[in-house]
Symmetry: C4
Subunit: 195 residues, 4 copies
């Protein structure tokens, strides 16, 4: 029961984050096509962030699918993740409004990195509670995907200061890696049920 309320609260926060980002798409003053043109980078950064929040919602869901009891530590690790995700609207609007300028792009990478680290922490907390033989531990394994993502975010922050386009390409690449829903947990779950 406690888990349900944590999931409902997280769903609420994620639903609001994913939706209020659209408030940064300020209505242009003109009514012509040329008024829409400067909005292209804002729109594209909104699209990328929408996909990222979608990925987090999806993975969050898989994470708690195998969780039964929620401890105080898990609860605060979850709030920590939600905090960094709540900075997405700000980072998205700043990077979108500045046509891939170095510092905003680096900050966007930084928010992605901190959210990923918070996710990793939350995952570790849940595994620690469930023990090394748990379903989640088996599903995550060595967590190559998670570690590669952290590395790419780090590189993107460094790259942003010189070639922001490289950083943006890396952000899109990591999104593509995760766009495929994390089947590891589902597969492990399925596997266990058979045996």
């Amino acid at each position: 029961m406690e888990k349900n309320r944590l999931e409902a609260f997280s769903d609420g926060v994620l639903a609001i984050i994913i939706t209020i980002m659209v408030l940064e798409l300020k209505v242009p003053s003109g009514a012509g096509l040329q008024a829409l043109k400067p909005m292209a980078p804002v729109f594209l950064s909104y699209l990328l962030s929408f996909i990222y929040v979608g990925i987090y919602w999806n993975n969050h869901h898989h994470l708690f699918q195998s969780t039964r009891r929620v401890t105080g530590g898990i609860l605060w690790a979850n709030l920590n993740l939600l905090f960094w995700l709540s900075l997405f609207p700000f980072a998205t609007a700043w990077v979108g409004g500045n046509h891939l300028a170095p510092i905003p792009t680096a900050l966007y990478g930084g928010v992605l990195l901190l959210a990923a680290m918070a996710y990793y922490l939350l995952q570790s907390r849940i595994i620690a509670q469930q023990g090394p033989n748990s379903l989640l531990a088996a599903a995550v394994g060595r967590d190559l995907k998670g570690k590669v993502s952290l590395a790419l975010y780090l590189i993107s922050i460094a790259a942003a200061c010189w070639h922001p386009w490289i950083a943006t390409t890396l952000h899109v690449t990591v999104a593509c890696i995760w766009l495929v829903p994390d089947r590891r947990i589902e597969r492990a779950l399925h596997h266990r049920q058979e045996s």
Copy 2:
């Protein structure tokens, strides 16, 4: 269980979309009746979009009523639909603030079209998973309503560039077509229970 969380998340996003649109009703600076007058088109476009989101919520609900398992494909098709619906506040504010100017009206039609296509995709995904003999497949049938809507949206985009009022009339017409809740699924469900 997975389905419940997808429904809860979608409900959250739809509830936020339908409500933040009202933030575009900017409080007028004056306190007289004449201050309200220029708000009429903004108000009417808000009303139309409110009805549209209501229709989508209603149909979304019917769509998942007959769904049991949620696959990764359905999950992303659902997020795709939510993305296009999340652009309603922006499109509504732009068209409302420009008294039916051609480009904003065409963009509004475009967002309606893309949301409708996303809905069609989601419906197809669910039917594909459930098989051609499923309840949903029987209820949707040849999906005349869906196909006519797509055609009318397309015409509205073309019409908007010359006579925006024709486009707006088409948008209102499609809303009226769908305002009647989609009884096909309920009827099919009822039919099957009897036999």
Copy 3:
């Protein structure tokens, strides 16, 4: 099940309405006490609207407590109610920002009236579906409270044009009448369980 999702969606919309009203409390530019002073009417109108939305949430809850099946008619009557409630933030901000000017006060009364009428319609729809011997019909009875409220709202709109303070006093009075949670349904429910 259908009812649960309607309740969840309504709860979401009401939670957002009650919370985004606070966004109209614009942060003052100064940092002194005198910067807070002009905010008093905005704050008081926020407080009144908060109580009103609280009352609607409370009564909405009682309304659906005795409801089992949700028809298309009930669903749209519910969306109609949510639409008028969604105008509360706009009306609240306008009346609060204009120190009880006649037209904004009349509009606030008008939104209260239309929301009350929508509530009455929703209640009638549910009773019509459940039959005249239903629990809800017995609990509502002649609905004196509802009818008196409608009358007071009507008077408040007329009064607002001459003496806005009378209108505001009426709005506060009706809130006080309803602040007492609607025990009629609970009592009727309790009564039936005994017999």
Copy 4:
């Protein structure tokens, strides 16, 4: 069932409060690091308020864990708590935008105090309904933590007018006291199940 809907509504309001605070992090006009610098106090006050809302959500959750029936009094005591919490975004933005000026800091302390008093009232209402031998009454005990917090908030308001930094230190201190999730209820619950 009634309790579930109260929890869902409260979760929704808390999720929105915790997320719309981020809208006060206005996107800076420049794209350099120096544009971020003046945002530091806004960011830190957002962080503190995020933690506070997280603590309230956490404790709210524990409060209702041991509650079965929701009376009208509990319902309105809960709405009273949500009202004061809804003022967090306003108070946070004002204190953050004024670099710890006396009046905004005092107001922030005042909102914290009123929210804490509302929480105390809600807790008392629930205990009053459950009786002095209830689980919650045993868990709360003499409620030292709650009383110390109220005292520290009071001191912080007085201190803010002379040395705002002392007030802010007190606000951080109380947050630290509560950051440890309230294990009293869990422990009492666990204890009772054993005996």
